[in-house]
């Protein structure tokens, strides 16, 4: 098969046209691309003055919530006392501390040692503390005798009873033995 010169010229022209066309398309895309790669460093676009938060919303992260189910305090060693069960006397508080602290053996726990160590007292020092508490107790007992409806005296007396009972409970652990 022989190709004459006329056909060859046509073929070459077609190839040139095709190559040119393809190049133009690809160049156009590359030029567009390079424009993106080299952005203008100016903020030419005017900032809208009526900016309103109407675009995509902020999504608030919702923390997972568990249903609230009341617990039994006893499960955690918490001692619940109704108004009538709250001790009103020194003896009552002594019994309470005995139950809460001594019988529960919390002072035997190794974690208790550093706390007890910090509270160490000589026998005389401990006695002084007890005497000061006792003095305050008799002060508020007298005040309450004079006015049985004195709520502040009642409250403070309860606190002082609690403190003295706690002191008695801790005594053996915090009073350093005589040298």
């Amino acid at each position: 098969m022989k190709m004459n010169s006329k056909h060859a010229v046509l073929l070459v022209i077609a190839l040139i046209l095709f190559t040119n066309l393809t190049n133009r398309i690809i160049n156009a895309l590359i030029t567009q691309d390079s424009k993106i790669i080299s952005p203008q460093l100016t903020t030419a676009k005017p900032i809208p003055t009526d900016t309103k938060p109407s675009k995509r919303k902020i999504i608030q992260s919702e923390k997972k919530r568990y249903p609230l189910v009341p617990d039994d305090p006893a499960k955690y060693g918490i001692i619940s006392q109704s108004k009538d069960e709250v001790p009103r006397t020194q003896v009552g508080w002594d019994l309470f501390m005995e139950k809460a602290i001594t019988k529960s053996k919390v002072l035997e726990d190794e974690n208790a040692n550093p706390a007890l160590e910090k509270m160490k007292k000589t026998s005389e020092e401990f006695q002084t503390r007890e005497q000061e508490v006792t003095k305050q107790i008799s002060l508020f007992e007298k005040r309450l005798e004079a006015n049985p409806s004195d709520e502040e005296a009642q409250e403070r007396l309860q606190t002082l009873y609690m403190l003295r009972s706690l002191g008695k409970t801790l005594k053996d652990k915090v009073v350093a033995p005589a040298p």
Partner: protein, 387 residues
């Protein structure tokens, strides 16, 4: 009809056939290339918009006031403030929403029509009272006999400091009186949405909501009007909140006896709708803290040497009375209605320990409990996500 007796035309047909095959292949190749280029461009635009959004978030971190109401081109609506601007000719839509416990900031960037949005969260800034050793929304009154009160770092008092008794003395490293109550108190938000904040029902709703966000294993929730006596117990290891909820204000008192936080690194908060009595406090385990929140008063008596570490918050009065020995409190004390100290031959010392951890987290139960003056952003976001 003339009959061709040669095959010269075949060359032309063959040439056209070859040419059309080449054209088809070339067009296919070009089409495929163009598609790939478009995909690459889309990917590039997407990546670019992602990083532009990230840059906008960093813009905000560099200037956290840029979205405040009143700033140029900032619009606010329903507690959301937004601004639209361009960065290197790319469109950015930056917005923020401040809630009681979390600050949200989001940046939406558009490049070549492709949008990507990044959102970060900041924990709410701790209230100012967490910077103080003592914050008293009322007066501070010291009374007793041979009693010494010593306060290191900041003491902020809305009222005044007074002392009475024989041989009492008060020493403050940095004391300011007459300070605005917004800097000395913590108020509860309007959790029950009745239009009034800081009511007893707000307190109850707020704490229920906070407690429900904790794993049930970390919470002891007691509904009772009885007094609860918390004594040391191994069952309390790992517990973060003990919430005692009475049916009315002042009910559901709590006595914390001797010590309840014997686990190292345990940060536990006792919340009561009544009063909290911390009798003979001793928090000695490494980094352990016992925080208290009382709707009513807080009392702290001690017969022997005592140490307490944590935040003490009383919606009413914080009272340190019946103190008979050296007693040290490390942390922050907040008494919305004031503070009293009553000692007998004793020495009470207060030191400041930052209750906020390095990530900006406040102790359990205090999340979202902000003072009126609280604002701004902590330096590092607590969460990041693409939305």
């Amino acid at each position: 009809m003339k009959r061709l007796n040669n095959n010269k035309g075949m060359a032309l047909i063959t040439a056209y056939f070859v040419l059309s095959t080449l054209i088809t292949l070339s067009v296919g190749f070009a089409y495929s290339s163009i598609n790939e280029l478009r995909t690459a461009n889309r990917y590039k635009d997407s990546t670019k918009s992602f990083w532009i959004a990230e840059a906008a978030i960093n813009d905000f971190i560099a200037d956290t006031n840029m979205l405040n109401s009143g700033q140029p081109n900032v619009g606010c609506e329903n507690n959301i403030c937004a601004k639209e601007y361009t960065l290197n000719s790319y469109e950015i839509y930056l917005q923020k929403q401040d809630t009681a416990s979390v600050r949200y900031v989001s940046a939406l960037a558009t490049v070549g029509g492709i949008q990507r949005q990044i959102q970060v969260e900041f924990p709410a800034n701790p209230p100012d009272v967490f910077d103080n050793t003592i914050s008293s929304g009322g007066n501070i009154a010291l009374s007793g006999a041979l009693a010494v009160l010593e306060v290191y770092d900041k003491t902020r008092i809305t009222g005044t400091f007074t002392k009475s008794g024989i041989g009492t003395s008060g020493w403050f490293e940095d004391k300011q009186q007459g300070v605005s109550s917004t800097l000395t108190t913590l108020k509860y938000p309007d959790s029950n949405n009745n239009g009034t904040s800081d009511e007893f029902n707000d307190f109850v709703e707020f704490n229920r909501d906070i407690v429900s966000t904790y794993d049930p294993a970390e919470v002891v929730y007691i509904q009772s009007n009885s007094t609860q006596n918390i004594v040391p117990n191994t069952q309390l290891a790992g517990v973060k909140i003990i919430y005692v909820e009475g049916t009315s204000a002042g009910a559901g008192d709590v006595n914390v006896i001797f010590n309840a936080t014997w686990q190292a690194n345990q940060n536990i908060t006792v919340i009561s709708t009544g009063t909290v009595n911390y009798i003979q406090p001793l928090t000695v385990a490494t980094n352990s803290r016992l925080n208290t929140i009382a709707w009513d008063d807080y009392y702290e008596p001690s017969i022997l040497y005592s140490t307490h570490s944590g935040v003490t918050y009383a919606h009413d009065l914080a009272t340190f009375r019946e103190v008979f020995d050296y007693s040290i409190s490390d942390g922050s004390v907040i008494g919305n209605n004031g503070m009293t100290a009553n000692e007998v031959v004793a020495h009470k010392e207060f030191n400041f320990t930052n209750p906020v951890d390095s990530d900006g987290n406040v102790p359990p139960g205090f999340e979202g409990l902000v003072g009126e003056s609280s604002g701004g952003y902590v330096s590092t976001p607590s969460a990041w996500k693409e939305i």
